[in-house]
C-alpha cells in the first residue's frame, strides 16, 4: 500500500500516464506523512479485487466488510436497488454494515439548486467517511452522484489547504477527526457498480448455480447499457475501463457483468448522452427531461437495437428512463422497455424474488415481458404473493398484532434482524435508538 499500482503499457488502448488525477494519491501519502490526514486503507480483510482504469492505474475494489453509503433516490424510490445489493452480499456471505447514522451526500441538491458550497459538501462527505472508519467498515457508495461528488471533493480537498483547514474546524466540532486531529480520507472512493464489476465472475457462478436451475436464461436478452454521467464523466480517470469491454472505449462496469452473465450487450449511437435527469430539471423542467429521455435515448435504443432492457448504474438515470415512457404516448413516441440497474438484473438472473427482493412493483415501466423472456414465467404468481404479503402486513400493523408481524417477517425472505419500538412495533431500523421520525 502507499505506492501507485500500474499495469503494463501494452495492456490498454487509452493510455495517459500523465493523468493529473493520479497525483492525488501521491499527495494523499504526503499529507498522511505530515500528519494532516489519515488514509482509511483497504486491507486484506476487505478482500480487494484489482480493476483497471483508463490511465494505467490499478484501482483496488474492496468486496467485503463494507459500510453502505445508501442513496436517497434509491431507497426512497427504487427500494429493490439497494435490496438487490444486500441480497447478493448475503448470498456471498459477506460482512457489511447498513445503519441509520448516515446522511445523503447532498450533492443532488447542490447540482440542482446551488444551495450549498464546497466546505459543506466536504464536511458532509468526511463526516460520513469518519462514521465508516470508526466502525471498522470500508465505505461503499451506492449513488453515482455521491460517488462523482465525493471524487471531486477529494481532489479539491487534497489539492487545497484552505479547504482542509476550513473543514477541519467543522469536523472538530462534530467530533469527526481522529484522536490526534487528522481528517479521515478513504484510500479509494468506491461505487457499488465497481463492486458489481469486481464480483462479476462470482455473480456468474451464482447465476449458474441458482438461477439456471430455476429455468432462468439471459442469453437471449438484448441489453442497452446506459453509463451514468457522474460515475465516468466526473473525475473521468477514476472509473473502471477494460480492454475486453468495447476495446477499452466505454466504461467497463455494468457492461462487463452483463457479458459475464452471457446477455447480449448491443452498442447504440447515443451511448454517451446523459439521460436528461438534470437534477433540477426532473422536478421543475420536466418537459426537458422527458423530451431528452425519449428523443435521445428511448427512441434511439428502440429503433437501433430494440433492446429488451436498459441497464443503468445510477439512481437518477433509472428513474428518468423508467418514469418517462408512458407520457410518450401523447406524441406517438411510446417506446416501452424495461429499465433496471445492473445489480437488480444480476439478482433476478441469480434467482432473487422479482417483487420481494427486486421490488419491481415500484417500477412504472414494462418489466413483465423481460421477466417472461428471462424464463421467470411464474411472475404473476410471484407478484400475487407479494401483494398478499403487503395486504397482510398492513392488516397486522393496523390491528397492532406486532408479535405476528415479527413472526411473519421471519418467514418473509427476512435476512436482517429487526428490532421493535417501545410499544412492540417493528422499527424501520434495528440500530437507531433515536430516529428523526418515529417509525
Amino acid at each position: 500500500m502507499g505506492k501507485l499500482l500500474r499495469y503494463k503499457k501494452d495492456a490498454f488502448p487509452i493510455m495517459n500516464e500523465h493523468s493529473h488525477y493520479d497525483e492525488i494519491f501521491e499527495r494523499m501519502e504526503e499529507l498522511e506523512a505530515k500528519g494532516e490526514i489519515l488514509i482509511h486503507r483497504i486491507t486484506e480483510e476487505n478482500q480487494p479485487v484489482e480493476v483497471l482504469t483508463r490511465t494505467g492505474r490499478i484501482k483496488l475494489i474492496p468486496t467485503n466488510k463494507l459500510w453502505h453509503h445508501k442513496s436517497c433516490g434509491q431507497c426512497g424510490n427504487i427500494p429493490g436497488y439497494p435490496a438487490s445489493v444486500f441480497w447478493l452480499m448475503n448470498k456471498f456471505g459477506l460482512d457489511y454494515l447498513n445503519e441509520p447514522h448516515q446522511t445523503s451526500c447532498t450533492a443532488w441538491n447542490y447540482h440542482g439548486s446551488g444551495t450549498s458550497n464546497p466546505v459543506a459538501l466536504a464536511a458532509v462527505w468526511l463526516r460520513n467517511m469518519h462514521q465508516a472508519w470508526q466502525n471498522g467498515y470500508y465505505p461503499l457508495i451506492h449513488c453515482g452522484t455521491s460517488f462523482g461528488s465525493y471524487k471531486e471533493t477529494r481532489e479539491l480537498l487534497i489539492m487545497n489547504k484552505d479547504l482542509r483547514d476550513a473543514v477541519r474546524k467543522i469536523l472538530a466540532k462534530l467530533g469527526r477527526l481522529t484522536d490526534d486531529g487528522r481528517i479521515v480520507v478513504p484510500q479509494e472512493i468506491v461505487h457499488y457498480s465497481e463492486w458489481v464489476h469486481a464480483m462479476r465472475y462470482k455473480i456468474k457462478e451464482l447465476y449458474e448455480k441458482e438461477g439456471k436451475p430455476k429455468g432462468i436464461d439471459v442469453s437471449n436478452i438484448k441489453v442497452a447499457i446506459h453509463n451514468a454521467c457522474h460515475t465516468y464523466k466526473m473525475i473521468a480517470d477514476d472509473y473502471p475501463y477494460d480492454p475486453e469491454v468495447f476495446n477499452g472505449q466505454r466504461p467497463a462496469a455494468s457492461t462487463a457483468v452483463m457479458q459475464a452473465l452471457g446477455a447480449k450487450v448491443v452498442d447504440y449511437s447515443t451511448w454517451y448522452d446523459c439521460c436528461g435527469f438534470g437534477f433540477r430539471h426532473i422536478l421543475t423542467e420536466r418537459e426537458f427531461t422527458r423530451s431528452f429521455a425519449i428523443q435521445r435515448k428511448l427512441k434511439v435504443i428502440a429503433e437501433e437495437i430494440g433492446a429488451d432492457v436498459i441497464i443503468t448504474h445510477d439512481t437518477g438515470c433509472t428513474t428518468t428512463f423508467e418514469k418517462n415512457q408512458w407520457i410518450g404516448k401523447a406524441h406517438n413516441m411510446y417506446h416501452p422497455v424495461a429499465v433496471m440497474s445492473d445489480v437488480m438484473f444480476s439478482a433476478l438472473a441469480c434467482g432473487a424474488h422479482p417483487f420481494k427482493v427486486v421490488q419491481l412493483y415500484w417500477n412504472c415501466s414494462n418489466y413483465e415481458s423481460l421477466l417472461e423472456k428471462m424464463g421467470i414465467k411464474n411472475w404473476r404468481e410471484l407478484k400475487k404473493e407479494w401483494e398478499d404479503a403487503v395486504k397482510y402486513i398492513g392488516e397486522l400493523e393496523k390491528e397492532g398484532r406486532y408479535d405476528e408481524l415479527m413472526e411473519f417477517f421471519k418467514e418473509y425472505d427476512l435476512y436482517e434482524p429487526y428490532s421493535r419500538t417501545g410499544n412492540g412495533k417493528p422499527r424501520a431500523s434495528a440500530t437507531s435508538n433515536r430516529p428523526l421520525f418515529s417509525s
Binding site: H111, A120, A236, V390
Partner: protein
C-alpha cells in the same frame, strides 16, 4: 449593446442594464475568486465540442462554450446577465468536462455561478427555485433529498397510471421492503437524530442556513421550526441520559 458580437444570442435584459457596472463587476469577481475557478478554466480552442454534446443545448438556448468564452473575454455584462436564468438550463452532466481537449469544466463554472447567484439572492434565482422548495425542506431537515412520501401521483401525472398503484397502501409497502433501515416513509432510510444534529451543525457553520434565509425567508422559517424542534428533542434525550 444588446447581446454580444461573438455569439451570445440573447438580448441583455433591461434589469441587467439598470444595474451599476461596479455591482456587476463585483458579482463576476466573486465567481472568479472561488478557489475552484482556476481549476475549471484554462484555454479555449472555440472548437464547440462541449456545446455539440451538451444535452441542454438541444432544448434550451444554452451553450457551455459561451460560458467559457465569456469568462476568457471578461465580458462582465453578459456574464452577469447569464447568471439570472441562462445558467439554470445546464443539466450538470459534465459531458462538457470530459469532452474538452483543454480540460475546461463549463459545468463546474456554472455550479460556481449558481452558488454566487443564490448567495446574492437574485430575484430570478428565487423564482427558479420556488418549485424546488420541497427538496430543500427535506434535505435541510432530514439529510435525505428524497423520500417515498414525496412521490404523490398528483405531482407526477406524466409518470403514468402505475404511479397511482405504487402509492396506495404506502406504509405497508414500505414495511415490506426487505432490508433494515429502509422501511421509513418520511425519509429514504431511517436517519438517526444524532446524524441530523451533525448535519444542522454543518449547515450553520458553512453559512447554508444564512443562504436559505436570503433566498426564501418563508421556507427558511419552516425549516428552522423543524430544526429547532429536533434540537430540543435531542437536548431532552441527552439530559434524560445524564
Amino acid at each position: 449593446m444588446d447581446g454580444h458580437k461573438y455569439g451570445y444570442n440573447l438580448p441583455i435584459s433591461d434589469k441587467t442594464k439598470s444595474v451599476p457596472w461596479e455591482e456587476k463587476k463585483r458579482i463576476v469577481e466573486e465567481v472568479k475568486a472561488d478557489f475552484r475557478f482556476k481549476e475549471y478554466l484554462f484555454g479555449c480552442l472555440n472548437c464547440g465540442v462541449c456545446t455539440a454534446s451538451c444535452p441542454s443545448n438541444r432544448f434550451f438556448d444554452y451553450s457551455p462554450r459561451e460560458i467559457v468564452q465569456r469568462f476568457l473575454e471578461e465580458d462582465v455584462e453578459v456574464l452577469y446577465d447569464m447568471m439570472h436564468e441562462y445558467i439554470w438550463a445546464c443539466s450538470q452532466c459534465f459531458t462538457c468536462w470530459i469532452r474538452c481537449p483543454f480540460v475546461n469544466n463549463p459545468g463546474g463554472l456554472v455550479a460556481i455561478m449558481r452558488e454566487v447567484a443564490v448567495r446574492n439572492a437574485f430575484e430570478a434565482t428565487k423564482d427558479l427555485l420556488k418549485p424546488y422548495g420541497r427538496v430543500l425542506l427535506k434535505v435541510m431537515t432530514t439529510g435525505n433529498q428524497l423520500s417515498a412520501d414525496m412521490l404523490q401521483p398528483d405531482f407526477f401525472p406524466d409518470w403514468g397510471p402505475k404511479m397511482q398503484d405504487n402509492m396506495e397502501n404506502l406504509r405497508a409497502k414500505r414495511m415490506a421492503i426487505p432490508f433494515d433501515v429502509g422501511k421509513s416513509v418520511k425519509t429514504a432510510w431511517e436517519v438517526s437524530l444524532e446524524t441530523a444534529m451533525e448535519m444542522y451543525t454543518i449547515w450553520r457553520e458553512t453559512g447554508i442556513f444564512d443562504m436559505l434565509e436570503k433566498i426564501d425567508p418563508n421556507l427558511f422559517n419552516v425549516i428552522m421550526d423543524i430544526v429547532e424542534e429536533n434540537e430540543e428533542r435531542y437536548e431532552e434525550l441527552y439530559e434524560e441520559e445524564d
